[in-house]
C-alpha cells in the first residue's frame, strides 16, 4: 500500500511549566495522515488530543513548549517556518479546523457569511463578490440555504452553526481538515445528520481529515485508521477494523468494553476504574500503569516503546504479545475490579 503522505508528525511533545512542576500534556506522539483518509484520534477528556492538534496549528499559548523531530505537511517542513509564513501559507489554506464548540466559535457580532468571506480573503486575492459566491457554493455543500449567510450566528441553531463551521473549513480546499469533536454538544439526531453530511462531503473532496473525539461509536463509523490516546501518549494505532477486532493495548480493550455494541446484545458494559493521570512531573513508568489490570514489573520501570505489530498497527505495551489472552481476560468484569 503506497499512498501519499499528507501529514507526518514524529516524536511530538508538548510541555507546560507550572508551579507544581512540568506537565507533559503530549508525550512523544508519532503518526502519519495519508491522502484522502480519515485518521481518528480517540481518548477521554484531558488525554491531550486537543493540545496535540493545537500544537500542530500553533494555537497554544507561549507557555507551552512544543518539541518534535519532524512535522511535515505535504512535504513542507512546518517546524522551521516563521509564524508569519505559517499564518499566511499554512493556516486555513492547507490545514483548517472544525472547532470543538461550534456554538461559540462564530464571532457573535459578525454575519456568518462574512466570517467565511474573511477566511477566504485572508488567503486569496479575490473580490468580495467572488468570495460570497464561494460561500454560497459551500453552504450548498453542507446543506445550508445560501441566503442564510447574511444572518448572525445567534440566529442559527447548533446544527446550523456546525454546518457553517464545516463549510468554512472547506473554503480553501485544504489538504488537511482537523475536526475537533465536531459533534459534541449536538443532540443525537443532529449529530447523525452532521456525520452523514461529513461522509457525503468526503466523497466529493480530496482533503484528509483528522477526527478527534471521545465518542468511540463516532470514530468507529467515520475513520479509516484510529489512534488511541491516553495520558498524552498515543497508546495504539491501527486501521479501524484491526483496532476493533484485535485490540492489543489494555486501554483499548477497556475502551471497547465501555461502549455498547449492537452485535453483542446483552453484553454488560464495563468501565475502567480510576481516573486519568495528572501528567505532572517527570515519570518513567507507563502512564496507564495505575489503572491497568495486566501490569507487570517492567511497566513501572520504563515507559514502553512503540512496537510495530503490522504495517499500520502499532502499540505501546510490554505485554502486546499476550494480546489474545488479555482480550479474553478483559471481557470479564472481575479482571478490571481486581486491579485496584
Amino acid at each position: 500500500m503506497s499512498r501519499n503522505r499528507v501529514l507526518r508528525v514524529k516524536n511530538l511533545s508538548v510541555r507546560y511549566q507550572t508551579q507544581k512542576g512540568p506537565v507533559h500534556a503530549v508525550n512523544d506522539v508519532t503518526f502519519d495522515v495519508f491522502e484522502n483518509e480519515v485518521f481518528g484520534i480517540a481518548g477521554e477528556s484531558g488525554c491531550g488530543k486537543s493540545t496535540l492538534i493545537r500544537s500542530l496549528m500553533r494555537l497554544l499559548p507561549d507557555s507551552a513548549l512544543v518539541t518534535a523531530s519532524e512535522i511535515t505537511l505535504s512535504g513542507q517542513n512546518l517546524q522551521s517556518m516563521p509564524d508569519k509564513n505559517f499564518r499566511e501559507e499554512i493556516l486555513w489554506s492547507k490545514m483548517s479546523l472544525v472547532p470543538q464548540s461550534a456554538m461559540n466559535s462564530l464571532n457573535p457580532v459578525y454575519r456568518v457569511g462574512h466570517q467565511v468571506v474573511e477566511a477566504i480573503q485572508a488567503h486569496r486575492a479575490i473580490s468580495k463578490a467572488a468570495a460570497r459566491n464561494r460561500v454560497a457554493e459551500l453552504f450548498d455543500v453542507v446543506g445550508l440555504q445560501a441566503d442564510l449567510m447574511d444572518n448572525y450566528p445567534h440566529e442559527f441553531s447548533g446544527g446550523m452553526r456546525q454546518r457553517a463551521m464545516i463549510a468554512m473549513s472547506l473554503a480553501l480546499d485544504p489538504g488537511l481538515i482537523v475536526m475537533d469533536e465536531p459533534t459534541t454538544g449536538l443532540d443525537v439526531l443532529v449529530q447523525e445528520r452532521i456525520l452523514r453530511r461529513i461522509r457525503e462531503i468526503r466523497s466529493q473532496i480530496s482533503s484528509s481529515i483528522i477526527l478527534i473525539t471521545h465518542d468511540i461509536a463516532v470514530i468507529a463509523e467515520m475513520s479509516d485508521r484510529i489512534g488511541v490516546m491516553y495520558g498524552g501518549s498515543l497508546m495504539e494505532q491501527a486501521p479501524a477494523i484491526d483496532l476493533f477486532e484485535s485490540p492489543c493495548h489494555p486501554y483499548t480493550l477497556g475502551l471497547k468494553n465501555a461502549f455498547p455494541s449492537i452485535r453483542n446484545k446483552g453484553q454488560e458494559l464495563i468501565s475502567i476504574p480510576g481516573s486519568p493521570p495528572t501528567l505532572i512531573g517527570e515519570s518513567s513508568e507507563c502512564s496507564f500503569l495505575e489503572r491497568c489490570p495486566f501490569k507487570a514489573e517492567e511497566c513501572s520501570k520504563e515507559f514502553p516503546a512503540i512496537e510495530k505489530l503490522a504495517e499500520f498497527h502499532e502499540v505501546r505495551c510490554f505485554r502486546h504479545k499476550e494480546a489474545p489472552k488479555l482480550r479474553e481476560l478483559a471481557s470479564n468484569k472481575a479482571t478490571w475490579l481486581s486491579s485496584n
Binding site: 494555537l59 499564518r87 479546523l97 470543538q100 461559540n104 466559535s105 462564530l106 474573511e118 485572508a122 448572525y152
Partner: protein, 328 residues
Amino acid sequence: MLEYVLRRLLYMLITLFAVASILFLLFRMLPGEATLQVISPAMDEAVQQRMKAAFGLDKPVWHQYLIYLKNLVSLEWGRSFVSAQEVTAIISYRFWNTLLLMASGLCMTLTLGIGFGIVMAWKRNSPLDVAGTVIGLIFQAAPPFITGLLLLMIMSYRLGLFPTGGMYPPGERPENLIGLLLMPAFWERIVLPTITVGMYYLATPMLVMRDSMLEVLGSDYIELARAKGLKPSTVMFRHAARNALLGVVTLASIMVGFAVGGQVVVESLFSWPGMGQLMVESAASHDYPVAQGTFLMLAILVIGLNFLTDFLYSYLDPRITVSSEGIK
C-alpha cells in the same frame, strides 16, 4: 422600532417627571425661607402679601406644584433672583459650555481608556500593563481639584503654556457656538480642564476594557479567528476589541452621570462658565430658580445620553434587537 422609540421616550418623560417632582420637594424642604431673597421682611406687610400672591406663594403647596409643572412644560423656568435674567436664557448659554467640556473630557477618557485597555490586554503582565494600571489608579485616587491645581501650577504658572482659566479671553465673548469653536484661544483653554476630567475617569474604562478583552481573548471565536490565519492585529481589533467594546459602552452611559459630578469641581477650578459653575454660584447665592433649572437640565442631559447609549448598544451588538418589547 418606532414603537420602541416612543416607549423609551415615554419612560424618559416619566423619569424626568420624577426628577422634577423631587426637585420641587427638595427646594421647599431647604432650611430658611426661600422668599427672603426677594421679599424682604422689612417691607410693608401688605406689600409682602401682594408679592407672595404675585409669585403664587399664597396658594397651597399642591397648587404650587401644578403651576410649577405647567411652567416647566411651557419653558417658563422663572427669573434669576440675582440677575433677574430668564433662567432658560442663562442655562441655554451655559448648557453648551458644559456639553463641550464634558464631551471633550469623555472623548479623551474613552479613547485613551479603550486604546490602552486593548494594548494592556494584548501585552498582559508587561511593564506597560503594570504602568497603565498604576497611572490610571493614581489619577482616579487623586481628586480632580488636586490634579487640576497641579496642572494649573505647572502648566500655566510655571511654564506658561496655557491660560489659567475661562473659556475665552476676557471681553472677547464670541457671538455664537461656531464663533467660539473657531477661536484658537478657546482650544488653548479647554486643554487643561479636559486633561483633568479625562485623567480622573481614565482608570474605569481602561481597566474594564482590559478585563473584557482578556475575557474575550479566551473565547472560542478568537481561537478560530487565529486558526483562520488572520493577522494578529485583525484578531485583536476586528474580533476581540469589537466584542470587548460592548462592556465599555454600558459603562460609558453610567460614566456620563458621574462626569456631571466631576464637572462641578473642574468648572469652578478653571472658571469655566458651564452649568457646574452655575450650580455652585446659584446655590451659594440662594438663587433658587437658577439652581432648580440647572439641576433639571443636568438630569435631562444624563437621561438623554443614556437613551442614546441604548441605541448605540443595539447597533454594536446584533444579538440585541430593538423591538416593540424593548431591548432583549
